[in-house]
Amino acid sequence: RLRNVRGKVRFMRYIYSVDKQYVGFATLPNQVHRKSVKKGFDFTLMVAGESGLGKSTLVNSLFLTDLYKDRKLLNAEERINQTVEITKHTVDIEEKGVKLKLTIVDTPGFGDAVNNNECWKPITDYIDQQFEQYFRDESGLNRKNILDNRVHCCLYFIPPFGHGLRPVDVEFMKALHEKVNIVPLISKADCLTPNEVKKLKDRVRDEIEHFGIKVYQFPECDSDEEEEFKQMDKELKECTPFAVIGSNTVVEARGQRVRGRLYPWGIVEVENQSHCDFVKLRNMLIRSHMHDLKDVTCDVHYENYRAHCIQEMTSKLAQDNRTDSPLPILPLPTPDVETERLIKMKDEELKRMQEMLEKMQQQMHEKDQ
């Protein structure tokens, strides 16, 4: 089992210590753990990319289940004027007592039409809608049962057939990078040799930087982490964007039953790290960074949306544009320059007069003597 990303949580058992100094609040992590298991977790994952890049297959592979039973695929003619839809699948899954409400948001039709101008708009609208709903709920009087439908992560599928990012990829990611955590993936990587994979990854990484696209960044390792862990972290970061392969079928390979794709020339194993980065993706997305993805969504993307929203509303009303305006105590507006100058002038005049007075008093004093 992959070690927890932070590595340093040594799970505290209930210790009745003979140490007199032991107070007991070291059990707080236990208490938090217990409560979180009782409450359960939720996660919303969005997958985006053109049809046929293996999105659904990858989701099934990631969660080892079949979310897409009985779906209908459109043919080319039907897709000419294809509109982008947003579909949501919510499932409750449980593992070792931990409950997860998983929502997969699909974007069928993205990039499929002949004219794909602004085809990401329905997607950005959807994300904004979820933010708006949450903002509304959070501002209400009764906040007992707020549902969090905000999108925590967006897997963007880049086709492996080209030489890097295409305009639609760039435009999409730029439209979304400040609204959601984007994890770009090179899909159907079983059509690329290892060299080709490396070249494509380097190319995509350069282009992402060149176009100023802010993809999801793994948080920095703590300096006191173990070396082995730091090494793993470094490898993970240098491996992005992950080149993935998914499969809905189980095949027999090397004496085991594994998820894979059977070709005349061999068997591609999804979970074989020398075949593709699927395992790295799964580890990152689910086993180590799932909570961080949620945190970044809440603390960064949502806060940006909220601040932007409030500022828009208040720009019509407010005369000063302070970014911190708690109520009810409001900061005074700064006095204007003119008044300040006058005050300063008067001050100096007063000072001068006082000095003159003092001098005269002294003179008289001397004369009297």
Partner: protein
């Protein structure tokens, strides 16, 4: 061409799916715990009780630390709250502990207002959090939470019942904070007296509708221990930081001529139970209740007070923010007017002072002129006198010269006479 309206299809019935293998999200609680540990925890305790009843000693005993505090005097004018924050660490867990003491509680002759500073303090912490929450640019994840998570109410060991002040105060506090009542200095009550005392206290609380904190009994692992502890309330505690040798160990205890009361002996007092419940089992629940229940209640009341209505699904999507903005504009207007007034006043004051100073200056000039004239006058007089003197001197000199010449020419005249 992309569509402008979004059709959202969702499968309404959530399905429970079985997984074909180990996915790995069972690490989610660990991920959460890891983040919490990195952030650190904070916990705020409010101790309410008479001066000298043992609040500071109990805190020292609970946390095995000598928190600095001097004895409080009985002669305070009123009740005031004294918060002190400490950074503690145990294993890899960092705890920012704030202990708030109620100094002077119970000492005044008229105690009608005694509860007020306590309620105000609790409300102020809620208010601060609310303000942070309403900011445009907020950072809630690293906000130092000062809201009170638990109020330990110290009951004097009279053995009879609650005091009137106790009842009044707890009634004022029960909707704002988690209260755990404890019987202080319990080494003055015998076992049978204690049993009756506890029953009396609990029945008084119940019959007066005071809501004290119940240890949660819906939480799987700790249901049993919590429900059994609920039956032992209020906890009868004894605190001590001094160690006494019992057998071959040194334990924290109070030594009397008739015996040794051991703090951590469960047959002597309920200290261990209190520590267990407060710190080792329910600390997180206390924090959660404070946030999810007491704070939400405060927030709702405060916002309703300020004129916010709940959001209608159809109209007024951002009633909170709009109303807030309208009020803010009003407030700003008022503020600007006040500022103008103040500015005007200031300008007037300056003019006044300026006038006064000019007046004084003029006076001084006049005086100066006067003195100068006087001086001139004197000088003139002196000059005159000097001239007179000079004249006199000159006259004198002339006369002297004349006299001398006369005396010189006199003998000549005699000779002349003789010749004739």
């Amino acid at each position: 061409m992309a569509a402008t309206d979004v059709d959202i299809f969702s499968n309404e019935e959530k399905r429970n799916l079985s997984l074909g293998g180990h996915v790995g999200f069972d690490s989610l609680p660990d991920q959460l715990v890891s983040k919490s540990v990195t952030q650190g925890f904070c916990f705020n305790i409010l101790c309410v009780g008479e001066t000298g009843i043992g609040k500071s000693t109990l805190m020292n005993t609970l946390f095995n630390t000598m928190f600095e505090n001097e004895e409080a005097s009985h002669y305070q004018n009123g009740v005031y709250l004294r918060p002190r924050t400490y950074d503690l660490q145990e294993s890899n867990v960092h705890l920012k502990l704030t202990i708030v003491d109620t100094v002077g509680f119970g000492d005044q002759i008229n105690k009608e207002e005694s509860y007020k500073p306590i309620v105000d303090y609790i409300d102020t912490q809620f208010e601060n959090y609310l303000q942070e929450e309403l900011k445009i640019k907020r950072s809630l994840f690293n906000y130092h939470d000062t809201r009170i998570h638990i109020c330990l109410y110290f009951i004097a060991p009279t053995g009879h019942s609650l005091k009137s002040l106790d009842l009044v105060t707890m009634k004022k506090l029960d909707s704002k904070v988690n209260i755990i009542p404890i019987i202080a200095k319990a080494d003055t009550i015998s076992k049978s007296e204690l049993h009756k005392f506890k029953i009396k206290i609990m029945s008084e609380l119940v019959s007066n509708g005071v809501q004290i904190y119940q240890f949660p009994t819906d939480d799987g692992a700790v249901t049993e221990i919590n429900s059994s502890m609920n039956a032992h309330l209020p906890f009868a505690v004894v605190g001590s930081v001094e160690e006494v040798k019992v057998g071959n160990k040194a334990v924290r205890a109070r030594q009397y001529p008739w015996g040794v009361v051991q703090v951590e002996n469960e047959s002597h007092c309920d200290f261990v139970k209190l520590r267990e419940m407060l710190i080792r089992v329910n600390m997180e629940d206390l924090r959660e209740q404070t946030h999810a229940r007491h704070y939400e209640l405060y927030r709702r009341c405060k916002l309703e007070e300020m004129g916010f209505k709940d959001t209608d699904p159809d109209s007024q999507p951002f009633s909170l923010q709009e109303t807030y903005e309208a009020k803010r504009k009003e407030f700003l207007g008022d503020l600007q007017r006040k500022e103008e007034e103040m500015r005007q006043m200031f300008v007037n004051k300056v003019k006044e002072t300026e006038g006064e100073l000019k007046e004084k200056e003029r006076e001084l000039h006049e005086k100066f002129e006067q003195l100068k004239r006087m001086h001139q006058e004197e000088k003139r007089k002196v000059e005159e006198k000097r001239r007179e003197l000079e004249e006199e001197m000159n006259a004198f000199n002339r006369r002297k010269v004349a006299a001398e010449t006369l005396s010189l020419s006199q003998p000549l005249k005699k000779d002349k006479d003789k010749k004739n």
